[in-house]
């Protein structure tokens, strides 16, 4: 199957605002001048297809440091879904990276060293895989804890979430996003989730709960989360 060769601009209300009230970093780092429109050329409709050669993949268990090691604190979760293009075709062979806080709301990262929440020596905290023939990915992890944004005047807490980085099939299908959990009260006050103006767009960031009997094992809670990256393939569908 050939990769997409047609990319249209994003539909603005379905993507987040760049400057977000109350999110100070967004005001210091967002360019102040309007963006220039450039034509798509070959450089934009291509992209690295063989990154699994360069980046180590096959890390899909965040819940322990290595195979056979004790598992991290918290509730085991199984997160899976499909990577699709705008025509609902599977995006195969794409590198997909995830990272998240531990069950207490702390990251395995030096930039989180001031966080008073405890570290968990058994928590790996990140994973990288390649999507399969159906565009599917899957990770085993523990449910991330919520965490407060330090010294925020409105006591903003980040709801439980998982960060996703998707390399896709081309420069224009690169996507960095976050996945949220259904039914979390903190979702309603999250400045980053609320930065997406369109309600349907916000819903696209929230995973679906998987009924227990649909899971292959009894010791996990399951979430299903499809991700759509930009791009259309040459052959128009269904005509």
């Amino acid at each position: 199957m050939t990769p997409p060769d047609r990319y249209e601009p994003y539909d603005e209300p379905s993507q987040p605002l760049m400057r977000v009230d109350g999110y100070r970093e967004s005001q210091l780092r967002t360019p102040s001048r309007p963006l220039y429109k450039r034509p798509a050329t070959l450089t934009e409709i291509t992209g690295p297809l063989n990154l699994a050669k360069k980046l180590k993949v096959g890390m899909n268990d965040l819940s322990r440091i290595k195979q056979g090691a004790p598992r991290a604190m918290g509730q085991l979760i199984w997160v899976t879904g499909r990577l699709l293009d705008e025509d609902a075709m599977p995006v195969r062979g794409s590198v997909l990276e995830v990272w998240q806080a531990n069950a207490a709301g702390r990251y395995v990262h030096k930039a989180d060293s001031g966080n008073p929440a405890p570290q968990d020596p058994n928590f790996f905290g990140s994973g990288r895989c390649v999507t399969d023939r159906e565009g599917r990915y899957a990770f085993l992890s523990v449910k991330p804890g919520a965490y407060p944004v330090p010294n925020h005047p409105t006591r903003w807490w980040r709801p439980p979430h998982i960060h996703f980085s998707i390399l896709g099939e081309g420069f224009m299908s690169r996507l960095v996003t976050q996945m949220y959990f259904p039914g979390e009260p903190l979702n309603g006050i999250d400045l980053l989730l609320k930065a997406v103006p369109d309600e349907k767009g916000r819903e696209r960031l929230v995973a679906r709960w998987t009924p227990m009997m649909q899971l292959e094992r009894a010791d996990v809670v399951g979430f299903e989360h499809d991700i759509v990256v930009r791009g259309h393939r040459a052959t128009p569908m269904g005509f």
Binding site: S14, Q15, L28, T30, R38, K54, W99, A111, G170, R204
Partner: protein
């Protein structure tokens, strides 16, 4: 007709992108792995500072580049000249800006090509993306080389009408401490916001 799916919204990369995801050699595009041959072409080094507002250095940005090989080819099905692409060149690299806001890449000088989409010649160029906490979407721009005759016709370079602004995308030859001895070194600072702001393109 197939049901159109809307792309998932972007969200900021945040401050906690795992350090091990930005591997030691991911910013060196001149080889794939220890066993592979070196990529063809002139080795170059590109480095610079990233600044946020008030010209404060911005550390912990994730920077990615994408470019054709030394002959202007991509190993990608959308390139009609793909059969000629250098098998030892992937064209993609990643780096995080260090504590002083410095980013850098080692790569080969990209070749120009005749663009099948716009029908215009593309001057040698490198596409660059910057992600950071505070950036709800990535910002993207294109770097160009000094003294290239093809710059004046390049459809992306000319998408910026103000000549003084588009000059900010031209790499500047400079002796840089961290450049390998056998590489031509170029500098390009990226100003996310404020005076001398880098021009960015609609993604």
């Amino acid at each position: 007709m197939a049901h159109r799916r809307v792309p998932t919204p972007s969200q900021t990369i945040g401050p906690f992108f795992p350090e091990h995801f930005v591997g030691g050699a991911d910013h060196d595009l001149t080889f794939l792995d220890d066993k592979s041959k070196r990529a063809q072409g002139q080795k170059i080094y590109i480095g610079g500072n990233i600044y946020e507002a008030e010209r404060l250095p911005r550390w912990n940005c994730v920077v990615e580049i994408w470019q054709p090989d030394a002959n202007g080819c991509f190993a990608h099905p959308n390139d009609p000249r793909r059969a000629r692409a250098d098998p030892n060149f992937v064209g993609w690299g990643r780096r995080s800006s260090d504590d002083a806001g410095w980013y850098d890449f080692i790569t080969v000088k990209p070749g120009g090509y005749a663009d099948p989409l716009t029908g215009k010649p593309r001057a040698p160029h490198i596409d660059i993306s910057i992600m950071s906490s505070g950036l709800m979407r990535r910002v993207v721009t294109t770097l160009f080389f000094p003294g290239e005759a093809a710059n004046v016709q390049d459809p992306v370079f000319n998408a910026i009408p103000d000549a003084a602004v588009r000059e900010r995308l031209i790499l500047r030859p400079e002796k840089l401490e961290r450049a390998p001895n056998d590489a031509i070194a170029y500098r390009l600072d990226i100003v996310l916001q404020g005076e001398g702001e880098t021009p960015f393109f609609v993604d």
